[in-house]
């Protein structure tokens, strides 16, 4: 009984912490984020702004799937049975995202949003709770492509990028996200000497979104909400248990 009382009081304190210390600043940052204005690259400055354009490279890049891309990320997953559930582990990861330019019309700018030690988060579109924390650079290239590959008959581009691939325990899948050079991007960035850079003191460090920013904003919103959802569930179980115990205990006491 004491254990559950302590758990319940703990969950109440957690709820207060979640709402006052996490939710409120998170909502303020989120509100500031959706108010960020859109600007032209000529106006690139120290304050965060949204820019529409294209990402380009000096040399064309080809993904292991054979597509031309400005930047891409790929990885090989091993899906295997572990007890009653399926476990996934990443065996090999690679990508090309260096030496980029932001291009709008005939104007080109150096693009170094995530090239100075910033941590990036590639959004995979596989989870309705997928979140993006403000201290990471979000990269949303749309839904990822996935195909099953065989370990013994691995395609040559994958073999080159993952020469020492571990033998899988289950089924291998190759997953890839790529940005075509003709695909428009929306970028949240700051500028320094006409170079696109991250925004350390802004509501978000920055992001690159292909075609639309809706999913990125949703991921920022989920970052605020996920903690609250977890605390609510914990509270529902612990308070539910405490209330039923209290009602039952006091009823039997009254009956006796």
């Amino acid at each position: 009984m004491t254990f559950f009382v302590v758990c319940s009081i703990g969950s109440l304190l957690l709820w207060d912490y979640a709402t006052l210390r996490v939710l409120w600043p998170g909502m303020q940052d989120f509100w500031a984020l959706v108010q960020v204005p859109e600007k032209k690259p000529d106006e690139l400055g120290p304050t965060p702004a949204l820019y529409r354009g294209f990402l380009a490279t000096q040399k064309a890049r080809t993904t292991p799937n054979g597509e031309t891309a400005a930047l891409y990320y790929g990885w090989i997953e091993d899906h295997y049975r572990s007890g009653r559930s399926t476990t996934t582990r990443v065996l090999c990861r690679f990508g090309e995202d260096e030496d980029l330019f932001f291009q709008q019309g005939s104007r080109r700018f150096l693009f170094q949003l995530f090239h100075h030690g910033e941590r990036i988060e590639v959004l995979k579109h596989t989870d309705p709770f997928e979140d993006l924390h403000r201290d990471r650079i979000g990269i949303d290239l749309g839904p990822l492509s996935s195909k099953e590959v065989s370990f013994g008959n691995l395609p040559e581009p994958l073999r080159q990028r993952c020469p020492r691939l571990e033998r899988p325990r289950g089924t291998l899948f190759y997953k890839e996200m790529a940005l075509r050079p003709d695909q428009e991007v929306i970028v949240l960035s700051c500028g320094q000497d006409r170079v696109f850079r991250s925004c350390p003191n802004a509501p978000a460090l920055g992001f690159v979104a292909a075609d639309s920013i809706d999913y990125v904003y949703r991921a920022y919103g989920n970052d605020v909400l996920n903690g609250l959802r977890g605390v609510l569930l914990g509270m529902a179980f612990s308070l539910g248990f405490l209330c039923s115990l209290l009602l039952k205990y006091s009823r039997s006491e009254a009956d006796s």
Binding site: S8, L12, W15, T19, L23, M27, F30, W31, V34, P128, F129, D214, Y217, R218, G221, N222, V224, L225, L228, R229, L232, L233, M235, A236, L239, G240, L242, C243, S244, L246, L247, Y249, S250, R251, A254
Partner: protein
């Protein structure tokens, strides 16, 4: 929208549980008061149940507020 339907299910579950406890405890408290007794535990459960229900509705409200901000 920000997975609002998941939050709607969460809110439904939380408020069903919370209001369930609230009304069960209220009925019991009223019965005991009618017999001239006091029911401190009933009041405590009422308060906790209400807190749970309002917290669940708060999550739904926050989720809808975020969705509204995104779609305005």
């Amino acid at each position: 929208m920000t997975a609002w339907w998941i939050d709607a299910i969460l809110a439904l579950f939380g408020s069903w549980l919370g209001f369930g406890f609230f009304f069960a405890a209220r009925t019991r408290t009223q019965r005991r008061q009618a017999r001239g007794g006091r029911d401190v535990v009933g009041l405590l459960v009422m308060w906790l149940g209400l807190l749970l229900a309002l917290s669940a509705l708060f999550v739904l409200w926050t989720s809808l507020a975020i969705s509204f901000v995104l779609h305005q």
